[in-house]
């Protein structure tokens, strides 16, 4: 019975090939576009995540309470490096690595001139576990030891200081006591950056070197924490907050960059809006097709009824037609969209982030779940579209049908 209905539905769709083809083309285009859009947004989010989380911040940061509001006197809110605390952080489910850091402002100079720098001091081994891409783009040599007097500079900063790998530079900072202190260091490499600020101001040095410069042995400003899944950062942060208590401030990367959070929210909202509009447009296209189909087959439907076809059967036949159309269109659209995405993913799409000096490569992708979800929603939409015409057809009376011309 069911197979017979499907067979009939397929045959009916083939009766008006051109109309079916046009509707299918619309469905394919719509579904493929929706998938591409999702793929690009996912890639953009992933890219931002990687650029910010894996290269710069880490998913979560643990500070002493009050650090966030402190801004210019962040060093007053330093923490003592503590293996117990590290263990406690690592014991939270979802946390995979933790790394100590010391962030502060200083001035970097080449002997002739000096300029303001945002210094991030890291312990290279644990840091590589927390920020996998921290040293990924470094040209020259990344930091290797925790104690050496060396540094990696933002690309434009290096250009501005006329420094290159091996150059001798000086780093000046105000030590805890309030006295300025100055230490020599060797530049081991430079790093292009996504933001103007980083490119012009970023200096990365080993942790112990910075502690010596600031006269703060064993002190850090934050623990950077890596999580297993980046999109679970909020949940892990909540757990950390519970575990560590109120004397610590636990912030996710989006807490640290509130503008980014609102930007991501906006991107998602725009994507949803566009997908919803697309869906409505596809629904009207299918509804139109189904109405025409009913309209031109009024006599036929009358004949079927006169010959004893049940109303329910007519209803089912028309719904089946829409379902076959929707399923076919959505599947083909998914295939087209997925193939395109696979190609784009493989080749990579060159993309320059606003303000960035280096072009990045996006690798758009969609999860299987997103493909299935899109497919299901589109098929559902075609069924909704078929409901009206199918209902109307099943309510026709044989006499009125046969009288129609």
């Amino acid at each position: 019975m069911a197979t017979e209905i499907l067979r009939l539905a397929a045959r009916n769709l083939l009766r008006n090939r051109r109309r079916t083809a046009v509707t299918l083309a619309g469905l394919i285009l719509g579904v493929a576009a929706a998938l591409l859009l999702q793929g690009f947004i996912a890639a953009l989010l992933g890219f931002l995540g990687a650029a910010v989380v894996d290269a710069r911040l880490g998913a979560i940061q643990v500070h002493k309470a009050g650090h966030l509001e402190a801004d210019t006197n962040a060093l007053d809110f330093a923490l003592r490096q503590d293996p117990q605390l590290e263990k406690l952080i690592l014991s939270v489910p979802g946390v995979v690595a933790v790394a100590p850091r010391l962030s502060f402002e200083g001035a970097i100079g080449n002997g002739a001139q000096s300029t303001l720098a945002l210094v991030t001091a890291v312990d290279p081994q644990p840091e590589a576990l927390v920020c996998k891409a921290r040293f990924a783009n470094v040209r020259g040599k990344a930091l290797a030891s925790s104690t050496a007097a060396e540094g990696v500079l933002g690309m434009k900063l290096a250009i501005g200081l006329r420094a290159e790998t091996g150059s001798d530079l000086q780093l000046l900072a105000t030590a805890k006591s309030g006295q300025p202190n100055l230490l020599d260091l060797k530049m081991t490499g430079d790093v292009p950056s996504l933001t103007e600020m980083d490119a012009r101001r970023l200096v990365m040095v080993p942790l112990a070197f910075a502690q010596q410069l600031l006269d703060m042995p064993g002190m850090i400003t934050e623990y950077a924490v890596a999580v297993e899944h980046q999109d679970e950062a909020d949940e892990v942060a909540a757990l950390l907050r519970l575990k560590l208590g109120p004397q610590y401030e636990v912030l996710t990367w989006l807490d640290l960059l509130p503008q980014l959070r609102s930007l991501l929210g906006l991107l998602r909202a725009v994507m949803r809006g566009v997908v919803v509009v697309l869906l409505i447009l596809l629904t009207t296209a299918v509804a139109n097709t189904m109405w025409m189909s009913v309209h031109e087959r009024v006599r036929e439907i009358g004949t079927m009824m006169a010959l004893g076809s049940r109303r329910q059967w007519i209803l089912r036949l028309l719904v089946a037609e829409a379902a076959v159309l929707g399923l076919l269109g959505a599947s083909l659209g998914s295939a087209v969209g997925s193939t395109l995405l696979a190609v784009l993913n493989h080749r990579g799409v060159t993309f320059s982030a606003p303000g960035a000096d280096v072009a990045s490569t996006l690798h758009p992708y969609v999860s299987a779940a997103a493909v299935v979800g899109t497919l299901a929603v589109v098929v559902l939409a075609t069924l909704v579209a078929a409901a009206g015409p199918a209902w109307r057809a099943s309510k026709l009376t044989p006499v009125e049908c046969l009288r129609a011309t």
Binding site: L29, Q259, P354
Partner: protein, 418 residues
């Protein structure tokens, strides 16, 4: 008697309208899709226009200016703000720039780094020296960035603006007392240390601003020139223009007037982030627009196919009665155009109303720099015409094939069709 030519076209149009009206549901569904698509596309464009204009004017009118002049080689210094690559700020020099067509006003500035101190506490600062009356003409929105107090003014030449955070850090407070007194120290042009007294007149910056925004400050030009021992000199001249779309021509004209010792940059280079972001937004919206409009036109294509199919006999009659094939084609194109234009125009009206509502709701959005900007959507005639033209082209594409198919029928063939 054959009707005259315009009359015939009018009749064709009437027939087309009757055909559209005779299939209400079908036409309505096709029209609904176009209406929705046009509403979405036009609405998004309007909102984006508002966003982009705010971002642009935020950058240009409160900070950068439309154009900037520096000594050649200054921009290549990247972060440095060298004082030896300076330029004159006298009226005669500025007049040469002012006389360039499209230039509205010019404002000399000095960018330099230094320290601010209240005696016990000292910290780094990056200062911008401005000439208050001239600056007000070039960057009229600069004052809006202040969270408290006033900008450096002509009356109070020793004024100083710092970020609220930095002021708190060094314990400076706005007001007549000693707490408002801040010393600014820096190396002058020849490298020897110098200092001047200033008075804190205003606070700028956003709470918890990321990066180094908190280290930006503003000082009076004459005061800075005394501090840096470079009277009558500056490092930068900001320019505002009347027509932003003529920016490249104006840049070239200013560059020609000043010669090769100077370098002229546009806001697109100086606020690269804003320029890049708006370009990217435009590209994405264009792509979304094309997809939405094509999908919206599927219904129209189907309607036209159906229309041809069910009127085959009618076409045969028309052909048999001597109607030209071109007139048959025109008839179907008119039908399609009636549906699309008839729905695109209301779609624009709906979009327009939505935008009015957005404007009235006073929604705001977060600028990448940190501030909240109120959204003022706007729709130019050019945008509306572009969307309308796209819909018309789509409508033509949707109807041309069915129409030609219809016109290619032979009368006998068409008449024998059931």
């Amino acid at each position: 008697m054959a009707p005259t030519k315009p009359l015939l076209w009018l009749q064709l149009l009437r027939v087309a309208a009757r055909n559209v009206a005779s299939h209400k549901r079908r036409s309505a569904l096709a029209a609904l899709a176009v209406l929705l698509g046009v509403t979405a596309v036009t609405g998004m464009r309007g909102v984006l226009n508002g966003v982009q204009r705010s971002l642009r004017s935020e950058a240009i009118e409160s900070q950068v200016g439309a154009l900037q002049v520096h000594r050649a080689g200054y921009m290549a210094q990247v972060f440095g703000t060298p004082l030896d690559l300076d330029l004159p700020t006298d009226d005669a020099f500025l007049k040469r720039i002012e006389d360039v067509p499209n230039v509205v006003a010019v404002a000399p500035r000095i960018q330099f780094g230094g320290m601010v101190s209240t005696g016990d506490l000292t910290t780094f600062v990056m200062l911008q020296a401005i000439d208050p009356p001239r600056e007000a003409l070039v960057c009229p929105k600069r004052g809006e960035r202040l969270t408290d107090g006033t900008l450096v003014s002509a009356q109070q030449a020793d004024g100083l603006v710092l970020s609220a955070e930095l002021a708190r850090r060094i314990g400076a407070r706005r007001g007549p007392g000693d707490q408002g007194r801040v010393a600014v120290l820096t190396n002058d042009k020849d490298g020897s240390l110098n200092a001047v007294d200033t008075r804190l007149t205003g606070l700028n910056g956003l709470p918890r601003s990321p990066g180094l925004e908190k280290r930006l400050g503003v000082i009076g030009l004459s005061h800075a020139q005394a501090l840096l021992r470079m009277p009558g000199r500056g490092t930068e001249i900001a320019i505002s223009v009347k027509d932003l779309s003529q920016i490249e021509q104006t840049r070239a004209a200013v560059a020609t007037v000043l010669g090769k010792d100077y370098q002229v940059s546009t806001w697109r280079e100086l606020a690269k982030m804003v320029a890049d972001a708006t370009d990217l937004q435009d590209k994405v919206l264009l792509l979304i627009t094309v997809v939405l409009l094509v999908v919206a036109l599927v219904g129209v294509v189907n309607t036209m196919l159906m229309s041809v199919l069910e009127r085959t006999r009618e076409i045969g009659v028309m052909l048999a009665l001597g109607m030209r094939r071109s007139q048959i084609v025109a008839l179907f194109i008119m039908e399609s155009a009636l549906i699309t234009i008839g729905s695109a125009l209301p779609g624009m009206v709906v979009a327009r109303l939505l935008l009015v509502w957005v404007e009235a709701a006073g929604l705001s959005f977060q600028a990448p720099g940190g501030g909240l900007l109120v959204l003022h959507p706007e729709l130019s005639a050019t945008d509306a015409i572009a969307v309308l033209a796209a819909v018309l082209v789509g409508s033509l594409a949707a109807s041309i094939f069915p129409a030609r198919h219809a016109a290619a029928l032979r009368p006998v063939q068409a008449l024998s069709h059931l």
